[in-house]
Symmetry: C2
């Protein structure tokens, strides 16, 4: 039984703190075999787990990087797309162009085309293997179209998978002409039954996890943890659900919305109440909030370069913004009979998920009670994400949304809300998601000495250009884009960008709010700001070290470097973001 | 008239931004003469003003540093006092010790002793001039006692002035035995009429300013801006009123508490209301808040070392903590008929002072309206400071206290409260107290592009040892002490201290709350935390570069260095605090 528990801890990717001795062998055959099989199925991403062995608790990687080579940045800027589209429209194949090889297929009835599974489509991700995509039941070989794509090589990000999430993000595709062009490349039909669960191996608790897009950069398969390619992140204000970072601690529970109940109980209530999904949608006013969620471990990879930390190797994209729809927790608590002035000033709202480990322990977390009661805090029980039913990976049918607070407290698959004098007793509240000094190591850490992370500090990162790339030839200037956000409802008031490693700074433009933007009431700036700076490339420079740093409405700033904020768990990685790019030589220019 | 206005701007120490062209001559004879005269009267402090001339707006110092040499740090640690006191008690002169020169005076009746003015006492601040102090109408020559003082050389901080504020801070003095010792050093009586106003020059708008202690480090005499010696700051949790930093923008107004009225008007009120001081004290429940106030320019001196900024040369002590007593602004607004849910989400509370420049313009500032209405925000109209009537320098008879917000919005001598859709239109809200990028200079600054500073970022500083001093001989360890605070009610959760310039870190002890401590409700941590670290001095080290940095409850951190947060006005100086000290050589050890 102890062995099973240890496996569960490993599988769920938890850190082994002093309170959990990790004595299991480094590589459990069952676990690694399962991971490799699943990784093969997904054809991309790196499978990784970690744990400590004995007092030193060295980090051991169980999986191997399986290659995300095709998900590469290409240094194309969104603001070039329109002009490129105009130029390339002339080159596009029309339906009367008899020379295109795909024409032969046109004469075949769609129903006679071969049927391919999702896995078969996923094998075609490079020009040599051909580039296949799927869309609404069709399978398409777009190898010949890649060069013609007005959006440039970004089309390769969809290679081997579905077009839908991209077209949802790039609304320009939603017209007849684009569909006509696509139809010319049809080669088959998608086996719809292959789209659902990853595998039907009933011994695997992750077998009922939902399907995900192959473009996600996978940091852990079981539990599923993945982020989108970072260069997509600042392309839309609202992050499409399909590529919104997924941070699961346990298998995704299978929940029947018809029988689902939310239990609400604790301080200030004479008796517990139980609400169905229908109750929530019918008894309370719908409330929408545009809010950014960020994982405590976002940008951990950079902190890891200073000194090894324990945690999933998140890049800069463990952050996203959505329009969340649901009911105010405040309204539900008042409905349950809670009187505001009879509750303790320092109480807590505990959230308990329906995702459980093999011992039956649920994921849980808590937030300060006063937030739940504050009209201005916009704390939601959400059943919608970007206008869609909450996706399974994001907590279907109901999750907590606590704007301005670290992702880990926005509990998914919410089963119970408990008002209490105490914080959640869960591992994740008590012995994880806390910050420590650089001097604290796994032999000295005492989790009781640090507060649970709630509001997050100010953060920003550069999404374009991508680190290590070469700028476009003949460019005299460079466009730098990215995101910036701060916790606690503090708005971002300025982003500084440097092209010389931090010696001199220019002020980026904060992009004007679109219809999708969050209202930025004072103290309620729950959503990020996207920003952009176009600046001349200094003469004769062969490379640029581009840096960004943000300032929030309390004039908090990001620290200069990672070493002084290094912490053993690799959370709160908010030092200046740096990317190095090459400038094409003069001859090439 | 224009010339008079310019003088007023100069006298009130304002920066000349683009909207105020400063064409007045660099040194107005009237102004400089007045400053020198007053400076001589105070016998200490540096008088300084500043302005720009023409487009380049070079900073010109009108005053000269007059020497604060005796106010020096001496590297003695508070925790040594008790043991030193025990040792030195044996050496103390007793009333039967006939060899002491002061004995001669004992036989003279007190009423026959000479009368000295405050100014005469102030001339005796060094051993060569003799060290005089005053206490409750007596004047004492304590030159011979300095070596015997259990509290060490800190007694020199009182040289030339009154003992009362020090004895209020160091309660150990409040006993018969100490009074007996003091009486042995009596040499005269204090001319009580000399204790009041600085001068009776009626042409000087500052002539009715209150008297201040000579130990204050004066950054500007007119208006009066001064801070205590920094090494006193962490000795008491509540900062004594007499040494609490004073940041005046204009002359201190003379207000008759009997005729004083507070006007309250604006959004949500059918008609303005007018309240007397008696109304405020009798109609509303008294509310007390322990809160730290910090000047936006605290630690400007350090930022100035990177590149010249404009502003008063504050050290690390433009910060202090007091127990403020008064009424909740919320209660007053509800009394005035305001309905919470009928006010705009993004409204403002404008505060207008009764301190005015020669044109009749009052000091003013505003804060977000939702703060004023939030029970948890503890926004006060305060008439008490540390249990005493609000001192004139701190806003008698009434001031705004907006906990967690920059000092400049805590308007003193409050005359009017106005609920509005708009921020205060005052110079200080619109064209001062804002943060900018290091790339913005006086030729390019546009004040509209930055938000008014409200909540302040996380801050900390080392109060002992003092920069440039030598550690005690024979010491194997060093004790580092200081303060840490963050704005917006965010508590300080950790202070890191480095003895090697920031390469390695140790976690300081956050001093346990005393009876004076503020309640630290979640999100309502309005007051600072004092901290301490005692650590071994690394073997063979001849010098230490001691650094501190704090972390707040949103895990915001201080930036590593000043250059990247440099701004033309020198505000928000929150980079790591560094002090360099010498370690006595082995021979001396």
């Amino acid at each position: 039984m102890l062995q099973i528990l240890k496996h569960a801890r490993l599988v769920s990717g938890q850190v082994c703190g002093p309170s959990i001795r990790c004595l299991a062998p480094a590589a459990s055959p069952r676990v690694t075999a399962g991971m490799q099989a699943s990784a093969a199925h997904y054809s991309t991403g790196s499978a990784e787990s970690e744990h400590g062995t004995g007092p030193r608790r060295h980090v051991i990687l169980l999986g191997t990087a399986l290659g995300v080579g095709t998900v590469m940045a290409l240094g194309l800027y969104q603001n070039l797309h329109v002009s490129q589209a105009k130029e390339k429209a002339a080159l596009m194949p029309s339906s009367s162009d008899a020379e295109m090889p795909v024409k032969a297929i046109e004469s075949v009835a769609v129903t006679e085309l071969p049927i391919y599974t999702e896995a078969e489509v996923a094998k075609h991700r490079t020009p040599s293997d051909k580039i296949w995509v799927s869309y609404k039941g069709g399978v398409y070989d777009i190898t010949a179209f890649v060069e013609l794509h007005p959006g440039g090589d970004k089309i390769l990000l969809a290679a081997g998978g579905a077009l839908e999430p991209f077209w949802a993000m790039y609304a320009v595709h939603n017209n007849e002409h684009v569909l006509e062009i696509l139809e010319e490349y049809r080669i088959g039909r998608l086996d719809q039954s292959s789209v659902t669960a990853a595998s039907l191996d009933l011994s695997d608790p992750y077998s009922t996890d939902p399907a995900r897009l192959p473009i996600l950069r996978i940091n852990s398969l079981k539990p599923f943890n993945a982020e989108p390619p970072s260069q997509l992140l600042a392309d839309t204000y609202l992050t499409p659900n399909a590529i919104f970072f997924k941070r699961n601690h346990l298998p995704v529970p299978v929940i029947d919305p018809e029988t689902y109940r939310l239990e609400v109980q604790g301080l200030g209530m004479k008796r517990p109440i139980s609400l169905s999904l229908h109750d929530l949608k019918s008894k309370f006013k719908k409330h929408e909030v545009v809010a950014t969620l960020q994982c405590a471990g976002n940008r951990r990879t950079e902190m890891n370069r200073v000194r090894q930390v324990k945690g999933l190797e998140w890049g800069i994209a463990a952050i996203g913004t959505a329009r969340w729809g649901g009911v105010l927790l405040r309204d539900v608590l008042l409905y349950a009979g809670v009187k505001e002035d009879q509750l303790p000033q320092n109480g807590h709202v505990q959230f308990e998920g329906l995702d459980k480990d093999v011992t039956g322990s649920a994921y849980g977390a808590s937030v300060p009670l006063h937030k739940a009661l504050d009209r201005r805090a916009d704390v939601l029980l959400a059943y919608e994400m970007n206008g869609e039913e909450l996706p399974r990976d994001h907590g279907f049918p109901l999750r907590a949304i606590v704007p301005g607070i670290v992702g880990a407290r926005n509990v998914k698959w919410l089963g119970r809300v408990l008002l209490s004098h105490d914080e959640s007793l869960s591992h994740w509240q008590q012995n994880d998601y806390k910050g420590f000094s650089p001097s604290v190591d796994w032999d000295t850490v005492d989790y009781k000495t640090a507060p649970a992370i709630q509001e997050l500090p100010v953060q920003s990162a550069i999404t374009e250009p991508v680190d290590g790339t070469e700028l476009t030839e003949n460019a005299d200037e460079v466009t730098v884009r990215g995101y910036a956000w701060s916790g606690g409802g503090r708005s971002v008031v300025r982003v500084d960008v440097s092209l010389d490693g931090g010696r001199t700074w220019q002020t980026a433009e904060l992009l004007p709010p679109s219809n999708d933007s969050a209202p930025q009431d004072e103290g309620r700036a729950w959503a990020w700001k996207l920003w952009s700076l176009t600046a001349p490339i200094p003469n004769g420079q062969r490379s640029l070290e581009i840096v960004c740093k943000a300032v929030d409405s309390a004039y908090n700033v990001q620290p200069d470097s990672f070493a002084p904020i290094w912490n053993l768990r690799g959370v709160l990685a908010t030092a200046w973001h740096r990317v190095n790019v090459k400038v094409p030589s003069d001859e090439k220019k």
